[in-house]
């Protein structure tokens, strides 16, 4: 029996953003994630790749979905996983991010997963700790594992990413998911369009490597993938758009608007969804929706990322830091 060749060494210690990754880095992570999918589909889901390693999830923003995905990914790889619940910790008592980081670092974890409301928080943490850091979302900056799981979902459904037309629709302005996806899809040579009311587009969007579309019909025309973004309710009451009703009318994804896209276009959403606001229920649950697959791919991508960062060839267990 021949052993499968081991994947190449991932050249980064942290995963802070898609910006730091080359197309080859991205492909490597997607390949590893493909392999991880099969582990999750076995009845015996536990491997021992990260046995003895310690993973700490430090979530400053509540996120059931992302946190449990990281937790499950760690556990399936055999790591010891600890969740720092910020609501009941000293963080509430005014401890700064850096002091928390230094404290956690003293416990010698191997990998820290951070979600924080401020852009740049993951990078700041990475400067202060000796272990690997994964950015699980920092403000409106980046959410690299979301972009990777989206890419994996697309690649498995379509067989490729290069040359596809991907429409990203909704609150681009506040979305880290949009930024990471724009970078990743550009790196893998997909065509990216963004569709949003102008109040929800960041300054300089036309220079971010995307085509800006003002209507869903224009943005979805012949698209291979339709990626919807969440619009937070407090932003719908007049500050950025006048009302939920008006937003859904122009930018909510329904069967009529989806007709503009290719017949086999994928419908994606990073969750949690506002049904009836950015996406109609019938579409979210419809045949083109791959929203459930995205969740499954999330676990696989996070397993792949942690395996790649904690590659024993670079950072042997018990080795000096």
């Amino acid at each position: 029996m021949t052993q499968a060749p081991s994947p190449p060494l991932f050249p980064h210690r942290h995963l802070l953003g898609i910006r730091d990754l080359s197309p080859a880095d991205i492909e490597m992570l997607l390949d590893r994630a493909d392999a991880a999918v099969s582990i999750s589909r076995q009845s015996e889901k536990k491997s021992s790749t990260l046995r003895g390693r310690t993973q700490i999830n430090l979530f400053y923003e509540a996120s059931t979905r992302t946190q449990s995905s990281f937790e499950l990914a760690g556990k399936r790889l055999g790591a010891d996983v600890m969740n720092m619940s910020v609501a009941s910790s000293s963080v509430k008592k005014g401890e700064t991010l850096i002091d928390t980081a230094i404290t956690l670092n003293a416990m010698r974890p191997d990998i820290l997963i951070i979600r924080h409301q401020s852009a740049g928080a993951a990078a700041l943490l990475a400067q202060k700790v000796g272990c690997s850091v994964v950015n699980a979302g920092d403000g409106a900056h980046e959410h690299p594992t979301q972009a990777l799981l989206d890419a994996l979902t697309i690649r498995r459904a379509k067989g490729r990413i290069a040359g596809l037309s991907v429409a990203i629709c909704g609150d681009i302005l506040h979305s880290r998911v949009a930024r990471s996806n724009i970078m990743l899809l550009n790196a893998l040579r997909a065509g990216v369009r963004v569709v949003a009311p102008s109040t929800l587009l960041p300054s300089g969007i036309e220079r971010m490597g995307v085509t800006v579309c003002r209507t869903m019909e224009e943005g979805l025309k012949d698209a291979d993938v339709v990626m919807m973004l969440r619009l937070q309710r407090e932003r719908m009451a007049g500050a950025f758009v006048p009302s939920v009703r008006e937003y859904f009318h122009y930018f909510g994804l329904d069967a009529e608007k989806l007709k503009a896209a290719k017949e086999d276009a994928l419908v994606m959403h990073p969750g949690p969804m506002n049904r009836g606001v950015e996406i109609a229920s019938e579409i979210a649950d419809g045949p083109q929706s791959v929203i459930q697959e995205q969740v499954e791919m999330g676990v696989a991508v996070r397993m792949a990322v942690m395996q790649a960062l904690l590659d024993p060839r670079r950072n042997p267990v018990g080795g000096a830091r």
């Binding site: 852009a119 740049g120 700041l124 409106a140 900056h141 300054s203 300089g204 971010m208």
Partner: protein, 428 residues
Amino acid sequence: MSVTVFQNARVVDPSRGVDETGAVIVDGAKIAAAGASAHNQGIPGGATVVDCAGKTILPGLVDSRVFIGEPGAEHRETIHSASQAAAAGGVTSIVMMPDTDPIIDDIALVEHVLRAGRDTASVHVYPAAAISKQLAGHEMTEFGLLREAGAVGFTDGRHTIASSSLMRRALTYARDFGAVIAHETQDAELSANGVMNEGLYASWLGLSGIPREAEAIPLERDLLLARLTRGAYHAAKISTALSAAAIARAKADGANVTAGVSINNLSLNENDVGEYRTFFRLSPPLRAEDDRLAMIEAVKNGTVDVIVSSHDPQDVDTKRLPFADAAEGAIGLETLLGTALRLYHNGDLPLLRLAEVLSSAPAKLYGLPGGRLSPGAPADLILVGLDDPWVVREADIRSRSKNTCFEGARLQGRVLQTLVSGRTVFSI
């Protein structure tokens, strides 16, 4: 009184348009003569003679926008430590902002600052008092009494006055006392949550932007009110071409307005923020490169009258945070001259103009005695090696806070000796 003659120096006195080889004769605490004519006077008997060949003598710099932590935040900076930093940077007069705790909005605080300056500082410290009580933007402070107590001007420091009627009355009332109203303008609504210059760079970083219009809108309002009231208005820290154009229009209309710019907005741009470097979180924010160039042009063509360090000490507690949570501000007293001289070495500004905006112009704006080398002026002067290279090192910083934007920067032009009222307060 002892007499000292500084001979064979390049003497630059912007108050008289002098840039020539000559001497400066210091008699006690005053300047007796300066320039080529002083050289020709010969050396008075008993004078100490200092040969300054190859060196340049400038008036001590007047930094008209300095934030100090005393009273209330002495761990960041005291009047004493700020003055040490100033002396090392060639700054002999500082105008201190009222954003202290308690706020300088009452004559007792003005007296406190003057006393602390006299007792502990090695340079002249002049308090600017608040325009509004508690910097709250509602009620005027006692301009007359504060001025008599020694406040050299009025400003709400970091705060922008939202009320147009308060600004109108402040300009009108201050006129009766010959006082200037200095104002930093940033529209609180338009810049809400903004932490850096609005644009592509901020968008990629996921940081909320501050548009140029947030500065220009309240500025345009102020300039209209300055025209209406004929009051003396100083736009304290402008940062955009848009604002410079507004100032130029108001000046052309004959309004009594002046403008200042922070050395940071002349030296750096938004790209210097890099990967969330909080020492570069400033107010106004570092702008795009075309705005930086427009600011240099505005200093050159006279639209902008003064350059300030905007010295603003912040400690690790307020800077070691994610970018959006960090405080604004950077120190600058010790690097003001070296960074400003880049504009001279680059050929952007003649030395005489640079000296003017750093000394005689701010002194004139606030009615201060220093900032000039004319006979009878206080002997506040600096000896400078214009071409001497040096590197900014955190370990050398005298300020209590180390939040400099110029760590590791290679500067050309260094202060060799600083005299305040004829007394040497710093020398290498």
